[in-house]
C-alpha cells in the first residue's frame, strides 16, 4: 500500500505530506513555547522584584551555546544542501558536525546546571530560576530529540539514500526544519533569560 505524495509534491498544494506535517507540528510547538513565554511575562510583570538574568546566570557560557547552536543550524542546512547536490560524503560530514555541536550544547548546559546546583540554586529557590530551569530543560529535551533523529539519519537511516534518495532528502529537510525551530526558540530564550 503506497500512500501518495510521500516523496513527491501534490501538484495543487505543492507540498509533500511530511513537510505539511512538520509545519503543523511546529505550529503546535509555537503555541507550547508561546504559553511558556506568556507565563514568563505574566510572572515578571506581577513580581515585586525580578533579578536581571546576567546577575545569576553565566552569560559568556550562554553566548558560547548560542554560537554553537547557530553553527549547528548552518551545518544542518548544509547537510541538506549536500544531498540536493548529490554529495553523500559531504552530507555525512555536515550531519556528523550537527550532531557533535548539539552534544557540545548539551555538555555546556550540563555544566551550567551543575554550577547552579552547587550554589544551591534550584527551581524552587525563586520564580526566576523556576522558569529558567523549566524552559531550558524543555528546550534541552527538544535538543535531545533532535539528536536522536539526526543520529538515525546519519547512521542506519541513511541507507535510504541508495533506495529512495528523494524521500531521504525530504527526511533530512524535515529534520532540518525541526532543528532550525529549536535554534529559533533558543534565539529568543537567550536574551529573555540571560540578558534582560
Amino acid at each position: 500500500m503506497n500512500i501518495p505524495y510521500t516523496s513527491t509534491a501534490r501538484p495543487d498544494t505543492g507540498l509533500y505530506n511530511a513537510k505539511l506535517g512538520i509545519w503543523l507540528f511546529l505550529a503546535s510547538e509555537v503555541m507550547l513555547f508561546g504559553a511558556l513565554f506568556s507565563t514568563y511575562i505574566l510572572l515578571r510583570v506581577n513580581a515585586v522584584s525580578w533579578p536581571h538574568g546576567y546577575e545569576i546566570l553565566n552569560v559568556p557560557l550562554a553566548t558560547l551555546n548560542t554560537v554553537v547552536l547557530i553553527s549547528s543550524s548552518v551545518t544542518m542546512v548544509m547537510a541538506w544542501a549536500s544531498l540536493m547536490m548529490k554529495k553523500f560524503d559531504k552530507y555525512k560530514m555536515y550531519m556528523g558536525l550537527t550532531i557533535l555541536l548539539a552534544l557540545v550544547f548539551l555538555v555546556v548546559k550540563y555544566f551550567e546546571y551543575s554550577a547552579k546546583f552547587e550554589h544551591h540554586l534550584y527551581p524552587s529557590t525563586n520564580t526566576f530560576l523556576a522558569i529558567y530551569f523549566t524552559v531550558t530543560a524543555l528546550h534541552g529535551l527538544h535538543i535531545v530529540g533532535g539528536v536522536i533523529v539526526n543520529a538515525y539519519l546519519w547512521g542506519p537511516g541513511s541507507k535510504m539514500w541508495k533506495t529512495d534518495p528523494q524521500r531521504f532528502t525530504n527526511r533530512v529537510e524535515i529534520a532540518g526544519l525541526y532543528w532550525h525551530f529549536v535554534d529559533l526558540v533558543w534565539i529568543f530564550l537567550f536574551p529573555v533569560l540571560y540578558l534582560l
Partner: protein, 602 residues
C-alpha cells in the same frame, strides 16, 4: 485552466493509487504473512485504529458513567451505605459502604476527565474521524499510518495511567477535572499521575490532529475540491486545528503544575499561602489565575472539539434521511470555520468570578455572544433541512433528530452564563452542570450514538437491530432529560456543584432537594436503557441482517464507493473520482433519489 491541471494530476494519482492497491492486494494473497498482532493490535490501517479507538472510548464512557452512577447514590441518599458495591470499595474510600467526601471528590474529578478526554473526544475524533474521514475523501489510508498507530497507543497509555491512579495512596486526582491551582498543587499524589496522564493524552491528540489535517489537505481524491467535502470532513478539519493549537498551552500548564508539585516551584502558588493554619513552604510569587487562563485556553475550544464532529455526523445523517441536500451547505462550512476561530477568543467567560476586571469581562461577554451566531446558523440549517423532506425515521435519524433540540437547550442555557451579571448568580451551581451536560450528553452523545448506528453496517457488514435500537433511543432520550433537566431547577435555586451531600446542609437547597432522587433514579434507568444497545452492539456483529454495500442509499464515498466492510488494505477496489457536491439527493430528472459523488452522469 487550473481545473484542467488539477484534473490531469489527480487522474495520475487515481491511476497510480489504483495500481498500487491492486498490487498490494496481490501481495497480500501471495504472502498472507501479516501476523495477528500486526493486523489487529499494532495495526497501521486507519480502519482498525478507528475501531480500536471506538471500543476503548466506549469502555471509558461506560466506566465514567459508572463513576457517576455511584456518585448519584451519595447525592440521592447522603450518608447511606452504597448497596452491592459499597463494601468492595474499601475502608479508605467508603468505610461500612458509606462514601467518604474525599472519594466523592475523586469520582467527580475522574468522571469529568474520563468523559471528556478519554470518552467523547476519542470516540468523536479518534474513532469516527479515523474510520470515516479517509473513506469519505477517497484516501487509501491516513497520511502517516505509523503516527496514527502511535496516537492510539499513547492515548491508551494515558487511559491506563488515569485508571491506575485510583489505586494510589490518597486515590485518584480529586481537584475537579479543571484542576485549579493552588488546590491541585497541594493535592494527593493522584494529581501528579493525572498530569502525566494528560501529557500522554495531549501528545496523542497532537499526533492525531497533524495526521488528520495532512490527510484532508493532501490525500483528497481527484475532483474532491474543498467545497465538495462532506460536512463531516469539514467538521473534523476544523476540530483538528483546534486540537493542534489549543492543546499545547494546556500541555505547558501541565508541565508547570508538575514542576510546582514535584520540584517545588511556585508558578501557580501565590505568596503567603496558608492552609489549615500552616504556612506552605513555597516561595510564592506565582499566579493561580494563570492556571485558569491556560486551562480554559484549551478547555473552551475543547467544547467545540466535542460538538463539531457531532454536528458533522448529524449533517450526514440528516441529509441522508431527509433525502434532500443539506440546506445552506456553504454557510454551514463558513460557520464551522468561524466557530473554530472564535472558540479561541472566549475562554475567559469561565472566569467572570475570579476578580477579573470589567473591561476584560465586557470583551469576553461580547465575543461569547458573537460565537453563538455560527452555532445557531448550523442548527438553523439543520432545522431547515428537515423542511419539506420525506423523512425516514431510521434509528440513526431518531438520534440525529434528538440532537437538535438537546443541543439547542444546551446552547441557549449557555447564554446567561456568558454574560457576567447572570453568571454571578449561576456560577458554579447545578445550572452550569445542566448546561454543559446538555451540550455533551444529550447533545453530543446522541449524535455519537447516531453515528454508531449509521456506520455500523459499513464497519461490520451487518445492520444493527432496529427494534433494540429504538428501545435504546427512547430509553436514553427520556432518562437523559430526567437526569439533566432538574439540574436547571436546582441551579436556579442556587445549589452549588461539587457538594458531596447534594446540598442537604443548605437552607436554600431544601425546597429543591427532592429532585436529587429523581435525577439519580433517572441515571440508573439510563444505565438500564444502555443494555439493549450493548446487546445489539455485540449480537448484530454476528447475527445481524447482512448489509448492502450502500445500506442507506447514501451519496458520500464512504458509503457509496466502498464495500461493506471495506477491504483490509486500500479501502477501494478502485479509488473513485468525484464529480459532484456531497449531497445530491432527489435531483429532478434522475432515475434514483440519490446520485453518489463518484458517479459521472446523472
Amino acid at each position: 485552466m487550473a481545473d484542467e491541471t488539477s484534473k490531469h494530476n489527480s487522474q495520475k494519482q487515481a491511476e497510480g493509487v489504483g495500481v498500487g492497491t491492486h498490487a498490494d492486494v496481490h501481495h497480500e494473497e501471495h504472502h498472507h504473512e501479516v501476523s495477528f498482532i500486526r493486523k489487529y493490535v499494532f495495526s497501521t490501517d486507519h480502519k482498525v485504529i478507528g475501531i480500536q479507538y471506538g471500543i476503548t472510548s466506549l469502555l471509558f464512557l461506560f466506566f465514567g458513567f459508572m463513576l457517576m452512577m455511584v456518585m448519584r447514590w451519595q447525592l440521592a441518599y447522603p450518608g447511606e451505605p452504597i448497596p452491592w458495591i459499597g463494601l468492595l470499595l474499601g475502608a479508605d474510600r467508603a468505610p461500612d459502604g458509606i462514601m467518604l467526601p474525599e472519594f466523592y471528590n475523586q469520582l467527580g474529578a475522574m468522571h469529568g476527565t474520563i468523559m471528556v478526554f478519554l470518552g467523547v473526544v476519542p470516540l468523536a475524533v479518534g474513532a469516527f474521524g479515523n474510520y470515516v474521514m479517509p473513506l469519505q475523501i477517497g484516501a487509501i489510508d491516513m497520511a502517516f499510518p505509523k503516527l496514527n498507530m502511535m496516537s492510539y497507543w499513547v492515548y491508551f497509555m494515558g487511559g491506563v495511567t488515569m485508571l491506575v491512579s485510583f489505586f494510589l495512596p490518597g486515590g485518584a486526582a480529586n481537584s475537579g477535572w479543571t484542576s485549579y491551582a493552588p488546590l491541585a498543587v497541594i493535592a494527593t499524589t493522584g494529581q501528579t499521575v493525572w498530569l502525566i496522564g494528560m501529557i500522554f493524552l495531549i501528545t496523542s491528540s497532537l499526533l492525531g490532529s497533524v495526521n488528520f489535517i495532512v490527510t484532508i489537505i493532501q490525500l483528497r481524491t481527484h475532483g474532491l475540491t474543498f467545497m465538495r467535502l462532506p460536512f463531516f470532513v469539514w467538521a473534523q478539519f476544523v476540530t483538528s486545528f483546534l486540537l493542534l493549537l489549543a492543546f499545547p498551552p494546556l500541555e505547558a500548564a501541565g508541565i508547570l503544575q508538575l514542576m510546582d508539585r514535584v520540584a517545588g516551584t511556585s508558578f501557580f502558588m501565590p505568596s503567603g499561602l496558608v492552609v489549615s493554619g500552616i504556612a506552605l513552604p513555597y516561595t510564592g510569587g506565582g499566579s493561580p489565575l494563570l492556571w485558569q487562563h491556560l486551562f480554559w485556553f484549551l478547555a473552551h475550544p475543547e467544547v467545540y472539539v466535542l460538538i463539531l464532529p457531532a454536528m458533522g455526523i448529524v449533517a450526514e445523517i440528516i441529509a441522508n434521511n431527509t433525502r434532500k441536500p443539506l440546506w445552506g451547505y456553504k454557510s454551514m462550512v463558513y460557520a464551522a470555520i468561524f466557530l473554530g476561530f472564535m472558540s479561541f477568543v472566549v475562554w475567559a467567560h469561565h472566569m467572570f468570578m475570579t476578580g477579573m476586571g470589567t473591561t476584560i469581562s465586557a470583551f469576553f461577554q461580547t465575543t461569547t455572544m458573537i460565537i453563538s451566531i455560527p452555532s445557531i446558523i448550523i442548527l438553523t440549517a439543520f432545522f431547515l433541512s428537515l423542511w419539506g423532506g420525506s423523512i425516514r425515521f431510521t434509528t440513526p435519524m431518531l438520534f440525529a433528530l434528538a440532537f437538535l433540540p438537546m443541543f439547542g437547550i444546551g446552547g441557549l442555557t449557555g447564554l446567561p452564563l456568558g454574560l457576567a451579571p447572570p453568571d454571578i448568580h449561576l456560577h458554579d451551581t447545578y445550572y452550569v452542570i445542566g448546561h454543559f451536560h446538555y451540550v455533551v450528553a444529550p447533545g453530543t452523545l446522541m449524535a455519537l450514538f447516531a453515528g454508531i448506528y449509521y456506520w455500523y453496517p459499513k464497519v461490520t457488514g451487518r445492520m444493527m437491530n432496529d427494534m433494540l435500537g429504538k428501545l435504546h433511543f427512547w430509553g436514553s432520550f427520556i432518562f437523559l432529560n430526567g437526569v439533566f433537566m432538574p439540574m436547571f431547577i436546582q441551579g436556579l435555586a442556587g445549589v452549588s456543584r461539587r457538594l458531596y451531600d447534594g446540598g442537604e446542609q443548605y437552607a436554600h437547597a431544601q425546597s429543591v432537594l427532592q429532585w436529587n432522587e429523581v435525577m439519580s433514579v433517572s441515571a440508573w434507568l439510563l444505565g438500564l436503557a444502555q443494555i439493549p444497545f450493548i446487546i445489539n452492539f455485540f449480537l448484530s456483529a454476528k447475527k445481524g441482517k447482512k448489509a448492502a454495500n450502500n445500506p442507506w442509499d447514501a451519496t458520500t464515498l464512504d458509503m457509496a464507493a466502498t464495500t461493506s466492510p471495506p477491504l483490509a488494505h486500500g479501502n477501494f477496489e478502485r479509488v473513485p473520482d468525484v464529480h459532484r457536491p456531497p449531497y445530491e439527493y432527489s435531483v429532478p430528472g434522475a432515475d434514483r433519489d440519490f446520485i453518489p459523488q463518484h458517479e459521472r452522469t446523472a
